[in-house]
Amino acid sequence: MLNFKKSVLMLLAIMVGCIALYAAPAMAHGEKSQAAYLRMRTLLWYDVEVSTTKLKVNEELVMTGKFYWFYDWPSNIAKPEVAFLNIGIPGPVFIRKASYINGVSGTNSTRFDIGETYEFKVILKARRAARVHMHALMNVKEAGPLIGPGRWVEVTGDMADFTNEVTTLTGETIDLEHYGLVNAVKWHIFWGVIAAAWLLYWIFQGPILIPRYKKVKLLGDEADDMITPANRMVGLVMLIGTIVVVTWSYFNAYAQYPVTIPLQSGQITIPALPDAARGVNVEMIDARYRVPGRALEFTIKVTNNTNSPIKLGEFTSANIRWMNPEVSQAEPADSHDPVASNGMSYEGGAVMPGQTKLLKATCTDAAWETYRLAKLIYDPDSRFGGLIFFFDEEGNRSVVAIGGPLLPVFI
């Protein structure tokens, strides 16, 4: 026999050691697991910004951005007939104070149109100290969560200080953190005590199992006589008492809360933003993925119907951005923000107003591999999608969706 105390101490020491060793920082979540075609051809997010990445409990954070519902929606994914703008955070680290889609409150689920662009704004209030990777996120019914760009956000402070006060239409100010809790617990205790009393009433007549079983068998058809008139009286009192208390509590609650409404569940449709292409037409000529080079090469036929020369500045897909630094610059916001600041280059130069021209672009970055986008070529549907950004000389931007079959090149 081992020394019991010693073993326990050892175990404790090992546990403490492990905890001390692994007090490492918090981690991101699950965006990479989704299939590449799903990430590239459903919801394309851009311009996503957060107002701050460090805040205290009770302070607010605003996340803004735009999303585009890709025109070539995969046929096996449910269309956004019912969708809900959400936030990807591990539990209520924040509460959602407000969310808006094109300025309309996003409390309800919404219908969206394929091929259209919307802008969103989410206001969050910090509730619990944590360092989290926060994502913009859209839930689409039967398609699941479509995850947008993420940012590391750190909340400090004490959750005990957090309050979430609102004023009801009946004029009462309540804190949603605790509202109604004492009342509910009180009722659960009340009924719990009665249930326990009822069970113990029988158990204390014990031993109840074997003797009663024998009696039931011995009495046969007369077994019901085992229930005494006193037992039945207890049952009657319990029945009447329960009904009386329930009835009283029901009407009492009505008296206390005379104005109530059922849960609200309507759905809304929000009109889309105007077309962000601003008169730039793009036709996909061909697209290849260079496997050893980690590069997407595509050729597009661009027609410029605006009145200013345009240049290609960015390709974005699956929340990864390939920047052409000669036209548009961006740097990663944090360690998990996939921005290839130098990842894109193209041949063909500026497209003049009224001109139609072939452009050949190359988007290179390890992200193709590390974010598992290159797996696209092994998907059952190996078409890709993304957004390209053109900029004119005044810095005006045209956003155009492109997509098509993607051929792998292994040499």
Partner: protein, 258 residues
């Protein structure tokens, strides 16, 4: 699990439950469950959100592999021991010995249902508090690793152990197979293969976690089979009635009232 602590020659009716062994079962199962729960508290949100991060491998996949090794080993040791040390003279044991062994079987069953509580109630509903809050990105999430690959094998271990105990040491169970016992052990056991259906469905269709989705009802049906312990209870009661019959008593049997 040893026989209860009454010495031969003492009064057989005393110390049948074996308070000490029940306490050991209670607290050791409790300690294991708490260890799992504390581990989740420490590492789930920080290390268990993204199955593609190396941390996930370290903290969660290694836990999973560790559990598998331990479960394989324990199953081989416990079940093997029960079979290896079977009582070949089981039909010749004294009624006193049989009574003691019946209560040992009850201790096994206590162990079984105590783990069933943690698996089917505590950690099963905990799964909701995880999956309704996070994005599911692997079949092996921090709640699944504990629920499906930790607690469920644990009760299978105890349930099959209880069954083997009865089969190898109690005359009635050695002579015939108790059908309710089989149902009450095999039904919850089948929940584990049913996990396959769950993951298949979640991979192709249900990205959201609706707990009441029909996809989950396989678990429900198999959970019902735990009710078969009622049939086993009656079987054990009938046997104890035989073993505790007094001379001047009418022998009570199941069919007597029909």
């Amino acid at each position: 699990m040893s026989t209860p602590s009454t010495e031969m020659g003492g009064d057989i009716s005393k110390g049948l439950i074996g308070g000490k062994r029940i306490a050991i079962i209670f607290f050791s199962v409790f300690a294991v469950m708490m260890a799992w729960r504390i581990y989740q508290q420490l590492f789930a949100w920080d290390m268990g959100m993204d199955s593609f991060e190396p941390e996930f491998q370290t903290y969660w996949m290694n836990l999973l592999y560790g559990q598998w090794i331990l479960e394989f080993t324990l199953a081989a040791v416990i079940w093997g021991y029960l079979l290896k040390t079977r009582d070949k003279d089981v039909f010749n044991i004294t009624p006193q010995e049989e009574l003691k062994r019946t209560f040992t079987l009850l201790a096994w069953l206590f162990c079984y249902v105590w783990i069933v509580y943690w698996a089917a109630s505590f950690f099963a509903e905990q799964d909701a508090s995880w999956h309704q809050v996070t994005v599911r990105d692997t079949d092996f999430t921090p709640s699944h690793i504990v629920l499906f690959y930790g607690t469920m094998p644990a009760y299978i271990l105890a349930g099959v152990g209880a069954f083997l105990y009865a089969r190898t040491r109690l005359p009635q169970f050695a002579e015939n197979i108790s059908i309710p016992f089989v149902i009450a052990v095999v039904g919850p056991f089948m929940i584990l293969p049913n996990v396959g259906l769950n993951e298949w469905g979640h991979t192709f269709w249900f990205m959201e976690e609706l707990f009441t989705a029909p996809l989950h009802w396989g678990f429900v049906t198999l959970g019902w089979t735990a009710l078969a312990l009622g049939g086993l209870l009656i079987q054990i009661i009938l046997r104890i009635i035989t073993l505790t019959k007094l001379d001047d008593e009418v022998h009570v049997t199941e069919k007597m009232s029909d």
